[in-house]
């Protein structure tokens, strides 16, 4: 086989794939698509799903329905989706918490790894370690020293096995500190107690933290992503400050029920990635310091598998277990 025939066959298969994709994309949403949000309206999952749904709806010229099914820490909505027809017309938004729940709870009415088809990753946003305004530290290094040097300190998180809890315990492990976790009903109340100086810090979303940072109510210590965020280029990362490889990010993925047709998965994946590439969606995520993260279905599946493994390991080491 010479070079020309190789490139020709690559081209041909590429064209065939495009044609197949095109045909499916034309066929696929022939009726309204429902995105299940396993949380109440108004939260980050809901807002991301609505933005995505609105753009998909324009692209497909089909209505996209947002179906909020909150309760049981996303359990009820997820269990509902797992029971739907795997025809692509019922999909769900899931976040990093979905993979954390799997590590913490043994009472889920579904198998998170097996009962779902990973379709696409949407985007990611770093968390920020936000400390009380009068915390006696200069920089990240002295922050590590400060929390290592006392056993009377506390940090706030949003419930057993929440992303904030995982991030906090990972930080304790990495720094070698013993800061006590105190659980709150939400990121807002946890942040309020940081602002009031009752606890040292909480590791929360940039969406919630940045307005308080700008107002001087909260001292930003560091980001939990590997790289700095364009939304706050002055805030260092933990990764660059001595905790190499430290990464806890909030991400959102789109899942379907188990047993979906590969063609439909491909078609949904390419539509979603097309939305991710638009300026509108990029700007939407950038508002909160986030970035789109397009992936193929296989990459999404691998990414989620890696998350399941990682959080199971962290949960065991830090003893984060519902007992």
């Amino acid at each position: 086989m010479n070079l020309r025939s190789i490139s020709a066959s690559v081209l041909a298969s590429g064209l065939a794939a495009m044609a197949a994709g095109g045909a499916l994309a034309q066929e696929f949403p022939s009726e309204p698509v429902t995105i299940v949000v396993p949380f109440a309206p108004g939260g980050s999952n809901d807002i991301v799903a609505r933005q995505l749904g609105q753009q998909l709806s324009q692209m497909w010229d089909q209505p996209v329905v947002i179906d909020n099914r909150p309760g049981g820490g996303a359990t009820i909505g997820s269990a509902y989706l797992a029971e739907q027809d795997p025809d692509g017309y019922s999909i769900m938004i899931a976040s990093v918490t979905f993979t954390m729940n799997a590590a913490v709870r043994d009472d889920l009415p579904f198998n998170p790894r097996e009962d779902f088809t990973p379709i696409a990753l949407v985007g990611q946003v770093p968390l920020v370690v936000g400390a009380r305004p009068d915390i006696p530290v200069e920089d990240v290094a002295s922050f590590f020293e400060y929390i290592r040097g006392s056993d009377a300190l506390s940090y706030g998180a949003t419930g057993m096995g929440s992303i904030q809890h995982f991030a906090g315990e990972l930080l304790n492990q990495a720094v070698g500190s013993q800061v006590q976790v105190v659980q709150y009903t939400g990121g807002g109340p946890a942040m309020t107690d940081v602002m009031g100086g009752f606890i040292e810090y909480s590791i929360g979303s940039m969406t919630q933290m940045m307005p308080q940072v700008e107002a001087g109510n909260i001292r930003p210590i560091a980001l939990t992503s590997l790289e700095r965020s364009p939304a706050a280029p002055d805030i260092p990362t933990l990764n660059e400050s001595g905790l190499e490889g430290f990464e806890v990010i909030q991400w959102w993925a789109i899942l379907g029920p188990d047993g979906m047709d590969e063609g439909v998965v491909e078609s949904l994946n390419s539509s979603i990635n097309e939305v991710l590439a638009t300026e509108e969606f990029t700007n939407f995520l950038a508002n909160d310091g986030g970035t789109p993260r397009p992936m193929s279905p296989q990459e999404t599946a691998d990414f989620m598998a890696a998350n399941y493994d990682r959080w199971a390991e962290v949960a065991e080491q830090a003893n984060i277990v519902a007992e």
């Binding site: 109440a40 309206p41 108004g42 939260g43 809901d46 807002i47 609505r50 947002i66 909020n68 099914r69 909150p70 309760g71 049981g72 820490g73 359990t75 009820i76 269990a79 913490v104 709870r105 009472d107 009415p109 009377a152 506390s154 419930g159 057993m160 096995g161 006590q180 976790v181 105190v182 659980q183 709150y184 009903t185 939400g186 807002g188 109340p189 942040m191 309020t192 107690d193 602002m195 009031g196 009752f198 606890i199 969406t207 919630q208 940045m210 307005p211 308080q212 700008e214 107002a215 109510n217 939407f284 508002n287 277990v321 519902a322 007992e323």
Partner: protein, 506 residues
């Protein structure tokens, strides 16, 4: 920044044709949904949220806020007329509102609550205008220890909402607190008393509990008693005029109610329901007519209704100035702003002054609209009593189910509301008061969670609770309140004995 210039700018935003129409639409829908028993502000705001995605952010919020405080306004209507609270925070209004209807004085009751609501709302708005940043900073001084102390104070104060049998009232508080423990524990993640139902992981739905106990049970009770059309009454303007004595007794409870409401509204995580209970309990203690409470005392209406609406308006203070929603309804409304890419927070006032001041102005305009809307409508509402119960009650049950379902999109909660309806019916037959149950349910989990947080933060040192100035003072006040209650009981006993002795002398 000039306050007057901001207020003027705010009013010009709020008075634009679009915003004014949506404000009117919001308060009208709010009153309507609020008056339907079972559909409270949370359900109404959640239902209408998606519509506002297509509006300008200010307009969206003007409308949603209108729905919110409109629902709290409207909620008192069915409390008074049918003994069915329109929203959970109107449950207290039933206690004295419904007896007034039974006495043929529903016009007076509706008029009084409209005035009290208007004053409460206005008071909350004045605070929002003038003291927002200060109040927000002040709210930050409340940590877990302080919240714990204030909730304990609330429990002790509210235990006296009960009428004749203190032991039964306390028992109901305990039942309420026990129901509050259902669900996954925040700190350990362990599901408590969930009986294998995932639907119970987030706890018992407050709306299902309140609507079951107060709404469904009332309907069962009425059917079993076969009351037919008892309270047909005149709806003339004259029938709305309170007696001179009532007018004299009203202003102070209304003022105190507004203060209590504003206090609890401004504290994130508390809110209108607590405020109404505390307002009622306080008036019952202070009033020389304490024995008339529960039999149609005007104070029992003025204080909770004023507190309710003051709390609703004051709840916008932490939401708008700190970006911290004080309640589930507020969280939904913050979501409405986030959808439009606006982050509520400390910068909202400076970065989006049009939204902040426009919204603040629309609140007051909305309250005036409610006043104008409601007084002429009182006659219409009273005619509601003429609807045959055979039509009214099935409809009400439907609304309750819809309202309960909407809040958590959960069919399980619909079953729960019916269960609590039967439970409430049995408890009422046994002459148990239900209001203390509700207050125990609200305050119990808050006492527990904040106590746990305080103990974790202060590493198990009980003394910190007493040493911290705010929590120490509050706990001291609670102790005084307890002592005073005991003293009142002893004094009453002694008086009763003296009366008996005196009788023997004759």
């Amino acid at each position: 920044m000039d306050l007057w210039a901001n207020i003027a700018a705010g009013f010009s935003t709020a008075l634009s044709v679009t915003n004014l129409s949506y404000c009117l639409l919001g308060v009208f829908l709010g009153t309507f949904f609020g008056a339907l028993p079972g559909i409270g502000s949370l359900a109404a705001v959640t239902m209408l949220l998606p519509i506002t995605y297509y509006l300008e952010p200010t307009t969206a919020l003007v409308m949603l806020a209108g729905v919110y405080y409109g629902a709290e306004y409207g909620g008192s209507i069915s409390s008074i007329l049918l003994n069915l609270p329109g929203t959970p925070s109107n449950a207290v209004t039933c206690l004295d509102g419904y007896p007034m209807t039974q006495q043929g004085r529903s016009g007076v009751a509706l008029f009084a609550t409209t005035i009290a609501s208007f004053w409460g709302g206005t008071f909350g708005i004045i605070l929002l205008y003038t003291l927002s940043p200060m109040i927000a900073q002040w709210a930050l001084a409340f940590g877990p220890a302080e919240y714990f102390a204030i909730m304990v104070f609330g429990l002790v104060a509210a235990a006296t909402v009960t009428q004749d049998a203190p032991a039964k009232g306390l028992a109901m508080v305990i039942v309420g607190m026990s129901l509050g423990t259902v669900g996954a524990d925040l700190t350990t993640g362990v599901a408590r008393y969930d009986f294998g139902y995932f639907e119970l992981h987030d706890g018992v739905s407050f709306i299902a509990l309140a609507m079951g106990l107060f709404g469904v049970s009332e309907i069962i009770l009425s059917i079993s008693q076969k009351i037919d059309k008892p309270f047909i009454q005149a709806v003339t303007l004259r029938s709305m005029i309170p007696t001179r004595d009532e007018v004299r007794r009203s202003p102070m409870p209304m003022l105190r109610g507004a203060g209590i409401g504003a206090f609890f509204g401004a504290l994130p995580g508390t809110g209108p329901s607590i405020a109404t209970f505390i307002g009622y309990a306080l008036e019952k203690r202070l009033s020389p007519h304490g024995d008339q409470f529960g039999k149609g005392a005007i104070e029992g209406l003025m204080s909770p209704e004023s507190a309710n609406n003051a709390a609703v308006q004051a709840a916008f203070i932490p939401t708008m100035t700190l970006g911290i929603p004080g309640s589930a309804t507020m969280a939904v409304m913050m979501g409405a702003l986030l959808i439009h890419g606006i982050q509520p927070g400390p910068q909202l006032m400076t970065e989006n002054p049009d939204i902040f001041w426009g919204l603040a102005a629309s609140f007051w305009i909305g309250n005036v609209l409610l006043l104008i809307l409601n007084i002429p409508l009182i006659g219409l509402w009273v005619r509601l009593l003429k609807v045959p119960y055979g039509i009214l009650y099935p409809a009400v049950i439907c609304f309750i189910c819809i309202g309960v379902y909407t809040v958590r999109t959960s069919a399980f909660d619909v079953g729960l509301v019916l269960f609590f309806g039967f439970a409430g019916y049995v408890l009422r037959l046994l002459k148990f008061e239900l209001a203390p149950l509700l207050i125990g349910f609200i305050l119990g989990p808050m006492v527990e969670e904040n106590f746990k947080r305080a103990m974790l933060i202060y590493r198990g040192d009980f003394m910190t609770l007493l040493e911290r100035p705010i929590s120490g003072t509050l706990l001291g006040l609670t102790a005084l309140l307890l002592l005073w209650s005991v003293w009142v009981i002893i004094r009453n006993r002694r008086e009763r004995r003296q009366v008996l002795v005196g009788g023997a002398d004759d």
